[in-house]
């Protein structure tokens, strides 16, 4: 419950209102009137509130915190009127079963209160002056702090004109993981005007050693939302557009056409191949990178250059080892991601030394770097006039709803099914049987195949697509996702 008070606050009373017997944690925050601000000696201050809206907005913030952090009890009270040094201006108390959520919720509430609730603070200074906090500075300078790019503008390759170009640029970053973190941070720091980011995952504790936009207390939260929050704090001048989905579930042609350049930062070969073909068709350049243990590769694909598939004579590999399987040290994607950010700036400004029809190979075990010429491969399927986007067969559990009326088909062996039966309505046709007798499936019906990890279903779905079963999909991650 949020309220306003024109009388001094009584902490013990408030604290008992915030307690709850189901909770093991009570976190409170006290905002005090201090005797200085921005170099001025403050003698006292006044809070003025637009009451009706302050109370409704304050309660809305508490409801959001309740929802977001599973609060059992939340109390916030804000003073109005004249306050002296040492008085409590605002008090927040929250109770949750465990301490982590309580700390985060308390922080969330006070941060939101400060920017959303219509309460204004007037400071009285020792000098006899007074001023409305936030307002005077805003009236003079504008609301957003201005970023200072002077250290890069000094470079003759950048200059004022280059900086202006960066400010007008739109860059799409696919993946906000080990490569994506340095890419996003350096591009936002450089003052790219608009950054798009595509990232469907929630933060896992195993990401943290290499993905520095996130912190330990945020495990389980949406990486796209966390990255957006970090970037907004880091450089408020950059506008951010986030997509909390896999790029496969977005209209990729429409998405790409809104950007000047794409930076591909996933560790998923399917995504790379899809972005490669879609970018060639949309005539948008892409900076690709990938890593394997201590080694990395970077390649730039433009409408006129060789592409990812030019590299592979006998067709691109459908799977590459992920970081989870192959292992990774944080600085390796850190270096490759930094190179991608640098290359993106070079491409945007057409700087000397940028990659063109080349593959850059970086070996961080011995610090070797090599640029290999990579001309367009005349038999490259992605460059063929009739090239299509790769088949989209994989569906995550979160996307099942988009398939509409779908029949789930368990293709595991009877032995596997006996140990872990599917918890929902389905039919069971083992993989061998489906491949030998595809007519068991109705071509007009949408089918979602399920196995233990999503590998067998992906293979089976691709085989079925080849013989005209266009509505067959593979569940990413296997039966435990259902």
């Amino acid at each position: 419950m949020f309220s306003l008070s024109s009388e001094p606050l009584h902490v013990e009373q408030l604290k008992s209102a915030a307690e709850n017997p189901e909770c093991g944690a009570l976190v409170t925050f006290e905002g005090w009137v201090r005797n200085h601000n921005e170099g001025h000696d403050v003698t006292s201050l006044e809070y003025e509130a637009y009451e009706q809206l302050a109370v409704s907005e304050g309660n809305r913030i508490l409801a959001e915190a309740r929802e977001k952090f599973g609060l059992k009890q939340a109390v916030c009270i804000h003073r109005t009127g004249h306050l002296a040094i040492g008085d409590i201006a605002v008090w927040v108390g929250v109770s949750t079963p465990h301490r982590d959520a309580a700390f985060r919720a308390c922080r969330f509430i006070i941060d939101e209160i400060k920017v959303r609730v219509p309460i204004w603070k007037k400071e009285h200074y020792l000098s006899g002056d007074s001023g409305w906090v936030n307002c005077e500075a805003c009236a003079k300078h504008g609301h957003k702090p201005t970023a200072d790019y002077s250290r890069q503008i000094v470079l003759k390759e950048i200059g004022e004109a280059g900086q202006q170009k960066l400010a007008e640029s739109r860059v799409l970053v696919v993946g906000a993981g080990g490569l994506g973190c340095p890419v996003l941070a350096y591009l936002a720091g450089a003052g790219i005007g608009h950054l798009g980011l595509v990232e469907p995952d929630q933060l896992d504790a195993s990401n943290l050693h290499r993905q520095f936009l996130y912190s330990a207390g945020q495990v389980g939260e949406s990486k796209a939302a966390l990255a957006e929050e970090w970037l907004k704090q880091f450089n408020p001048a950059v506008s951010i557009e986030r997509h909390e989905q896999r790029i496969q579930s977005l209209d990729i042609a429409a998405l790409l056409s809104g950007y000047d350049i794409v930076v591909e930062c996933t560790d998923c070969m399917d995504t790379k191949l899809l972005v490669n073909r879609a970018a060639i068709q949309a005539k948008v350049p892409v900076v690709f990178a990938s890593i394997y243990q201590f080694e990395g590769q970077m390649q730039v694909v433009t409408p006129e250059s060789s592409c990812l598939e030019c590299l592979y004579e006998g067709g691109a590999p459908s799977e590459v080892p992920s970081c989870a399987v192959a292992g990774v040290l944080g600085p390796v994607p850190g270096v490759l991601g930094s190179l991608q950010a640098l290359e993106t700036i070079k491409q945007l400004l057409s700087l000397e030394g940028r990659l063109e029809n080349e593959l850059l190979i970086v070996n961080l075990a011995d610090y070797g770097m090599r640029r290999l010429a990579l001309p367009i491969n005349p038999s490259c399927p992605a460059h063929a006039p009739a090239a299509k986007l790769p088949e989209h067969v994989e569906i995550s559990a979160a996307e099942i709803g988009r398939l509409g009326n779908v029949q789930i088909v368990d293709i595991r062996t009877p032995g596997e099914v006996a140990v872990e039966p599917l918890p929902c309505e389905h039919v069971h046709i083992p993989m061998d049987q489906i491949l030998n007798q595809p007519q068991l499936l109705d071509r007009e019906q949408t089918h979602l195949l399920v196995c233990a990890a999503g590998m067998r279903t992906k293979f089976t779905a691709l085989e079925l697509r080849k013989i005209g079963y266009d509505k067959v999909y593979s569940l990413i991650g296997g039966n435990r996702m259902l």
Binding site: V115, V117, A139, G142
Partner: protein
Amino acid sequence: MKINVNYYAMFREQAGCSGEVVEGDCGDAVALFERLKETHGFSMGRSHVRLAVNDALVGWDAPLNDGDQIVFIPPVAGG
């Protein structure tokens, strides 16, 4: 048309009152703000100001109706 305008913080001080009733053709919220800015010499431009109509935050393109209570909200500083 009658619109009740309420002032807080710096707008209250610069207008010299906590509210006033504006009568006649006020135009839209943008025109109304610009007119009052001119009249009272508000030092803050509209780009920093949010609009509330009848105790709810709304966009600047929200329509104004007879009897509306409106508030111009300068940047806040609670806490």
